[in-house]
Assembly symmetry: C2
Homo-oligomer: 604 residues x 2
């Protein structure tokens, strides 16, 4: 590392939050271009999208050049993520030129580099969490592959048995097609059965023929749907846990190493004794690292570190500092109520005291829980009725009264720290938002301790769900791009009041009388990025694919691949993650350091 003032300034500038947000904004714009490019939700001329994309690419290049200035050259070119970004920018430029040239000369052209765009999210410096998730998937891949091969082997074997069992019997499916006569069709149908999408349908012709054939399907479902899918979860979960442990260990080691180095810089040696860091030096450091920490808080931390009141701390206590700073300490000063200082005679009068005691009583809380429940019932009732509309206003007044009463009896700051943001803010703000006022009901549930524990765990999962959200966006975006090139325009959606005769079969004669058209699934198409995303989400839940009817049968590969990547790998990682979060919640209560801090606080 270069430690000249200029280099450090450049480094701090690179890590400035403004630039980080700017990079995310440019990536967002780049990804959002799919809304305006053909096939578009809102069509824009090609030169507009091209210019915007060029601006984005220029921004990414600037960021990359900045990064190259910050870190040494040999380390810059060794880092795969920089090479990746460089390649993405280069390939995008090449693709834009080719596409422009082909379009200008009237040929058919595909913007293939759009698939690469979401990879920017992974490869920017800030995408650490996302890279970790991808690394975890990559590490799990070999083991998943073995189980997958075994699973596919089982599917292929069952398909062969099905062919022998049912192929010769001349059975018909409900659509009148021959039942289980083509090996590849059987493999696909049985694969879909694993996703339970065609669950009773695929079995009905055989079951109608004879009860005994149900045994075949029951065995199949038991082995492939239940056992193999659980094994996938086990493999993914196991790898996730192993990888998580390693990552945490590595991080902790790196942190300790850095803290020891910092200690080496700051230490003072008094004769023969162990090197120590003095309180003054420590105070300065903490003030520099976290300027917004209060004096009382800093003194508390010092008294935890310097357990024996020696005025200086050794290496072990110093290394703990980073963890100490991470622990949130809520300041709860018992200040007097502002009214008490301004109008003591009024605020301390007996009626006022009665009000305060009333509000602080548990019955007050229960009363309002009841009011919220009654309100929920009224929300469920018919709103056209003027009486009910008026009652809603009464409830609003009641809620306002509650807030005022609480502000009166509790000190305002205490009031806001007691009610966490999603408890108080929501009921404050959302009373105004029409439909979301139902969320008020969460307050009732939150008052019950058992539920609160579960909800808190769910909220803790929140930030990591964001990482998963990015992961899902990356994978969905790639699949949406490929899907749009493959299937765009094959299925058309007609508005409800359209009289076009093509409406009965989604604008594609191949879908005449198909289940797809009958269920009115026409809007489930790849005609633009928004409907692609929604369709992919539906496919994640239940893998139904009527698209193979409108294109070549090999398009099924797309859906099977999607199922493998999203359901077998990513959703399982998500489940593993939720499981782990709850196990940790159920076993660990508080860390060691946190409890020592609490002991100190109690001593004070």
């Amino acid at each position: 590392f270069d430690t000249t003032p200029q280099a450090i300034r450049l480094y701090l500038l690179y890590n400035h939050w403004g630039f980080q947000i700017l990079v995310y904004a440019f990536i967002l714009v780049d990804l959002a271009l799919a809304i305006f490019e053909d096939p578009a939700v809102v069509p824009l001329p090609i030169w507009v999208t091209s210019v915007i994309e060029l601006v984005c690419l220029a921004a990414f290049t600037a960021r990359l050049v900045h990064y190259a200035k910050v870190i040494p050259r040999e380390r810059f070119w060794k880092d795969p993520k920089n090479i990746c970004i460089f390649a993405i920018i280069l390939l995008s430029l090449v693709d834009m030129i080719i596409y422009g040239a082909l379009k200008a000369s009237g040929f058919y052209a595909v913007r293939w580099s759009r698939v690469l765009r979401p990879l920017l999210l992974v490869n920017i410096t800030e995408g650490r969490q996302l890279r970790r998730a991808f690394r975890s998937i990559r590490n799990a891949l070999p083991q998943i592959l073995y189980v997958f091969l075994l699973f596919m082997f089982s599917v292929l074997m069952f398909s062969l048995m099905a062919l022998k069992l049912f192929g010769k019997r001349g059975l018909k499916t409900i659509e009148g097609r021959p039942y289980f006569t083509n090996y590849l069709e059987i493999v696909f149908d049985l694969y879909v059965l694993v996703t339970t999408a065609n669950s009773p349908d695929i079995m009905m012709p055989a079951y109608n023929f004879s009860v005994y054939f149900a045994v075949f399907f029951i065995t199949y479902i038991l082995i492939n749907t239940y056992i193999f899918m659980s094994v996938f979860l086990a493999v993914v979960y196991n790898n996730y846990k192993k990888y998580l442990k390693e990552e945490v260990r590595k991080l902790v080691r790196a942190k300790r190493h850095k803290m020891v180095r910092a200690f080496g810089v700051l230490q003072e040696r008094k004769g023969e004794e162990e090197p120590v860091v003095s309180q003054a030096c420590w105070n300065q450091l903490v003030r520099l690292v976290q300027p917004d920490i209060s004096n009382a808080h800093r003194e508390l931390l010092w008294s935890v570190s310097d357990d024996n009141n020696k005025g200086c701390i050794g290496k072990v206590a110093f290394v703990q500092l980073a963890d100490l700073l991470n622990i949130q300490v809520i300041m709860m000063k018992s200040r007097p109520h502002p009214l008490k200082t301004w109008l003591p005679s009024l605020y301390l009068s007996s009626p006022s005291r009665l009000v305060c005691r009333m509000v602080q009583h548990k019955a007050f809380m229960y009363t309002y829980d009841l009011i919220i429940l009654v309100n929920a019932v009224f929300i469920g009732l018919d709103e056209e009725d003027p009486l009910i509309a008026n009652v809603e206003w009464a409830f609003l007044v009641l809620y306002l009264l509650e807030i005022l009463l609480k502000l009166y009896s509790f000190e305002p700051r205490a009031f806001f720290s007691r009610h966490q943001f999603w408890n108080c803010d929501l009921s404050l703000i959302l009373d105004i938002v029409f439909i979301l006022r139902i969320l008020r009901l969460i307050r009732v549930v939150d008052n019950i301790k058992r539920f609160r524990a579960i909800i808190n765990t769910l909220i803790k999962i929140g930030p990591t769900i964001l990482t998963f959200g990015q992961l899902i966006v990356v994978v969905y975006y790639i699949f949406a791009m490929v899907g749009m090139e493959l299937f765009k325009g094959k299925i058309r959606f007609f508005e409800a009041n359209s009289t076009d005769p093509d409406k009965a079969f989604c604008g594609n004669a191949l879908l005449k009388n198909s289940v797809f058209a009958k269920h009115n699934y026409c809007k489930n198409n790849f005609n633009n990025i928004v409907s692609s995303f929604i369709l992919l989400l539906e496919l994640t839940v239940v893998n139904q694919c009527g698209f193979t009817a409108v294109t070549h049968i090999s398009a099924r590969m797309f859906f099977v691949l999607f199922h493998i990547v999203v359901v077998i790998i990513i959703i399982n990682i998500f489940i593993a993650f939720v499981l782990e979060a709850f196990f940790v919640e159920y076993t660990v209560d508080q860390s060691n350091l946190q409890s020592s801090l609490e002991k100190k606080i109690e001593e004070l």
Copy 2:
């Protein structure tokens, strides 16, 4: 415990395997009565089934009386399982009398005690594993309940939002019914959405109206289908693990306690030294407990216990005995080939040696793997073709040749112990069984080491899957009984060649033009125990319920309850179990004791 010879003889008689099998046979007969009772697969007159049931009940009573003689009276009446069996027998008798009397006088009667029959499986002395499974469920119930209440709260809240969002827009479902206007309907529809059974359908009317409404459903699926279902798994799994640990700890403690008592009986004290057990006494004990153990094996076990060759063992080594006896030691004597002793000149001639070396070479195995794969392709081809039928005979000859060659080159016993039963027996026996010859393919997979590890774990799960099988049978039987009383005869199945006009709507006018009838689901009914079981299995996979159309809407409760009990609780326990089995497989390789035994073997 009574230790008179008579009491011990009675106790041994009670635990005789013949009696245990007999009890299971009687329970099986009792459960199978449902096939012959109304609504029956094979109708039998009522007096026949009644007599058979009486015989069964008499057998259970006899068994119970026998058990009462074996253990002290006060302990007998304290044990809830005995009281349960007693109550079941009594209630069954009462029900039979009431049913007979009502039928004789021409009234409508319900055999309600049939629901109790599967509980016999749980409460007999041999049903330890099953009771453990139920105990584990009972222990998990409070925590499941809290999550479930929160989950239902979320469903109810989303339903309220859906009512407000969609109720006023006058949308229609694909069947033309009003969309999301009745609160209870919405709750049910959204509950089914959690099971993904009505996944895109329920969303389509709103989605067709506006793309933005898709956000509502996406949020709902994310929270309720993915997060809450994972939380259920986490809770069930966590409880399962905790309970498993406790059970194992308790069992180990009980075993150790009993072994220490046995040591106290057998110990010899030599002066001031620690009490010990001599080798002679130990040998006698082992010979008594496991008569079929060989001398060499016993000596091996002794040399493991008596590590220092003192001729006697202390308490610690003695307590290990039970674990030692559990380790399987495969005897692999390198006997000469029988032909070598009978015809040494021929067997040791150079052509014969060449054959032996050829067969033992790896290439021989690979050649046969290839042959099996080629055979699989031929099985997939059209069998009507006489050429292919003849090729099948050629393959059979090849397999026979392989077996003969292996018998020639390996010693027969070694051959059978090398090839585990499902590897050799299957390829031997199943070559004859027509359709299952496809299972030969498993041999190819089994040769690859990575796959073998996974397959072995799956096989290890086997015995516990039997316990789950019983659990599922108990729950299914109860639901089938209730379902049959509720829905029997509501839906009729017509053979494919029937010309009855009712065939189009499954014999129930209420199902006219319904999706249920259109998909030809008529055979999915509760008209007898077999189709009930198959229907319940289908409901486990995907919870579709057309039955509510033919009865009162409250019948939906039946399906929701089934989903809660089977999918949320039992299937999750199954998944937890598979997960745990694989985690154990991935982390632990061999126990301490086993490796010490192996060290001894290597020393020898």
